[in-house]
């Protein structure tokens, strides 16, 4: 008790200074970025590194302006990758969450299916891609399927873990108030699993993004991955970097989106974090 109190005291004393520092770190961060870009630019301008391997930031910016505003060639690629990623991921959520709930609830289903789920989860799912191409062709759907396989297991396994880890005492409390099994599922187990489901979605999203790229690496005529591969083949490294940066940006935006979703769906956890920090 006494220890927490003294810590509390220290924190309140240090608070104004810390807040000042926090503002400064943002500024420092921006300065750091400028510094990195300047050094990078200088290194490439001075030809210390072959610009074919590491193009200058200005060259990358130029390539970005070209593909976004002049030739506008990037938009079809974006659209195709977007479709593959979204369709595959949404399917993974639609199928992974209910299956995870069922596996979490039913010991029988778990004993029947869990070994296969774990085996499939452990397999590098890319290994299925040749088969998926045979089954679904080289168009959109084989890629959607690969993204789906990449994402679905993280979602399923996490959902299942959420159901299994629901505090037994909460279930018993509900039962004591005469809740039916369905009510217990809807009002206790499902909400208790939401943080796990979101964690699974976040993992799945990362894997989905990788699968979009890998699928387009294999066999594609469109998509950001394809654009990167093609730019590489043509030694057009600035364009290659544009593609990579687009994927990075997509990853960052998507995980930020997931964080927001989490704050909306799981407000009770973020409130506790805010108070703890």
């Amino acid at each position: 008790m006494a220890q927490t109190a003294s810590l509390e005291l220290q924190r309140t004393k240090a608070a104004p200074r810390l807040r000042g520092l926090a503002e400064n770190t943002r500024l420092l961060g921006a300065l750091m970025l400028v510094l990195i870009l300047a050094v990078w630019e200088a290194v490439t301008q001075l030809k210390l590194i072959d610009p074919l391997i590491l193009p200058a930031p200005s060259a990358i910016a130029g390539a970005a302006v070209k593909v976004f505003f002049q030739t506008r060639e990037i938009y079809p690629h974006l659209w195709v990758s977007f479709q593959e990623g979204v369709l595959g991921f949404v399917l993974a959520v639609i199928i992974g969450v209910p299956l995870g709930l069922v596996l979490g609830r039913s010991r029988l289903f778990r004993s029947l299916f869990e070994p296969y789920v774990m085996a499939l989860y452990s397999t590098p799912q890319v290994a299925f891609f040749p088969l998926l191409i045979i089954a679904l062709g080289i168009g959109l759907w084989s890629k959607v399927a690969l993204v789906f396989f990449g994402a679905v297991f993280s979602i399923l396994i996490n959902t299942q873990a959420g159901v299994i880890n629901t505090d037994r005492r909460m279930v018993e409390m509900a039962r004591s108030f005469t809740a039916s099994e369905l009510t217990i599922f809807r009002k206790v187990i499902l909400p208790a699993s939401v943080p796990f489901i979101i964690a699974g979605m976040r993992l799945g999203l990362g894997r989905a993004l990788i699968m979009v790229f890998v699928a387009e690496l294999f066999s594609a005529t469109e998509g950001i991955g394809y654009m990167i591969v093609r730019a590489g083949a043509l030694f057009d490294t600035p364009k290659l970097f544009v593609g990579v940066l687009v994927m990075t940006l997509a990853g960052v935006l998507l995980s930020e989106g997931m964080k927001r979703l989490e704050r909306r769906l799981v407000p009770w956890l973020s409130i506790r974090e805010e108070e703890a920090s």
Partner: protein
């Protein structure tokens, strides 16, 4: 605060709200063993019989693992006894029912629900209309002194406040029998005393039948009309001690100074620690 409360709460929630009488008849319970973990079956309770007249406050004390909690869960209907039966006003207990409400050891609140929503949970699963749920929940919240914390999550409340939420949740369903499983066990001494006083005050208002489990002899004597002392596993009843101290008892400084209080304490302590 207290004066304006009670209008809706004194209205029965589901028909009859008279405090119930409980009869525990030769209840025994055995938890099945596990061949996988090579664990033999555990006898938790043996031949427990107990009569709790309506409007009495009964505490059960006993060493850890004497099956107190199991007995309470059997009375609630969460666990069916291996032998014997429990009767509430002459009707056998076959499962949880609306005439009983439990206050749990760790409050067992739902972390994603605010105070108000947590208190509403009991009424909600019992199928009360939403508006009525909310009105009754708000009244119960006022009754336990949590006004102003309706929209806090359990993670933002102290241990004592969480227990108040658990108590409000149970009270809001207007049970005829209140079952309390060491509700103040995890609280610090000061909060615990405050909660005991609060409980005495609430009990004086409607004198519900209460079965209260505790480790604390002081708490048992202070709160109860009857203290039941149990023996270690398998739990049996060692002695039933009527506590003949005047009520209302919320000025507990007076009570703790009472020589009879000390005598009850000494006696229960002796029963708990001396071999039979």
């Amino acid at each position: 605060m207290v004066a304006q409360v009670g209008s809706a709460l004194s209205q029965p929630a589901s028909g009859d709200a008279r405090p119930a009488g409980v009869r525990v008849e030769r209840v025994g319970h055995e938890f099945p063993g596990s061949r996988q973990r090579n664990a033999p079956p555990v006898r938790a309770l043996a031949d427990v019989s107990l009569d709790v007249p309506p409007q009495t406050f009964v505490s059960i004390v006993g060493p850890s693992g004497c099956g107190k909690t199991t007995l309470l869960r059997i009375i609630d209907g969460l666990v069916m006894p291996t032998t014997g039966a429990v009767w509430i006003d002459g009707a056998p207990v076959t499962g949880p029912a609306r005439d009983r409400a439990m206050v749990f050891q760790d409050a067992d609140l739902l972390p994603w629900r605010t105070t108000l929503a947590n208190v509403m949970f009991g009424l909600e699963v019992q199928g009360a209309p939403r508006a009525a749920c909310e009105a009754r929940a708000r009244e119960a919240i006022a009754r336990v002194g949590l006004d102003g914390f309706e929209h806090h999550y359990p993670g933002q409340l102290s241990g004592g406040m969480r227990q108040r939420v658990g108590l409000a949740r149970a009270l809001s369903t207007d049970p005829r029998l209140l079952l309390m499983d060491e509700p103040f066990g995890a609280l610090d001494a000061q909060t615990r005393e405050a909660m005991q006083e609060e409980l005495l005050r609430l009990w004086e208002q409607d004198q519900k039948t209460v079965v209260f489990i505790t480790h604390s002899i002081d708490e048992a004597v202070l709160l109860s009309d009857t203290v039941v002392v149990m023996t270690a596993r398998p739990g049996t009843i060692r002695e039933v001690i009527p506590i003949e101290l005047p009520r209302p008892r919320w000025r507990e400084e007076d009570l703790r100074g009472d020589p009879r209080f000390a005598e009850y304490r000494r006696r229960i302590n002796a029963l708990l620690h001396e071999p039979r």
